[in-house]
Symmetry: C2
Subunit: 108 residues, 2 copies
């Protein structure tokens, strides 16, 4: 499902930007909390390198995931919904075709 030719109206762009930011803030907030919990549980050096590996993986993941390009946004939103960072209802305002695609992708 190549989405490069999907049109996003100004209203939809606003909804999309808002949803994108909400999910990003939620995930970053949860990650900061998780890092602080892990850091405070460090007792031995292996725990510290485990935190380092965890941060490496999450940084790579977040850098790749939050890609605000309209050509891939349907897939980004589907992933964010699937992972629990976004509710489908927070995409209200997108046309039914886009919502249907996001919803279908989350069930894959």
């Amino acid at each position: 499902m190549y989405a490069n030719n999907i049109h996003w109206s100004p209203v939809e762009q606003k909804v999309a930007q808002s949803a994108f930011e909400i999910a990003y803030k939620r995930e970053v907030k949860a990650l900061i909390e998780e890092v602080q919990i892990q850091a405070n549980q460090i007792n031995v050096i292996e725990d510290m390198w485990h935190l380092h590996d965890f941060l490496s993986a999450r940084r790579h993941d977040i850098d790749g995931k939050y890609d605000y390009q309209y050509s891939v946004l349907i897939f980004v939103f589907a992933r964010l919904v699937k992972e629990g960072w976004l509710q489908l209802s927070e995409l209200d305002g997108l046309d039914s075709d886009k919502l249907g695609k996001v919803s279908a992708l989350t069930r894959m």
Copy 2:
């Protein structure tokens, strides 16, 4: 100053192992405390990636520094003394030639 041909007596080996472990434990303890302080001060994602960069650098540094090979131990001890993880007095028991070399290297 290539040190491959330096002889370490059994007593010196014991002193060296003990000093090596003392320094390692001190540095790891200080690092864990520093990581916990930094983690608890994270407010925004940039702070978290800063902690990640810090851990990457420290891991690389520590992995390289704590190299227990008799051929390089004089240099390792000199660095540890210079960085404050070891006191020269904690190497008491090494022969005067080795102590002199460590001491000279710490002043370079």
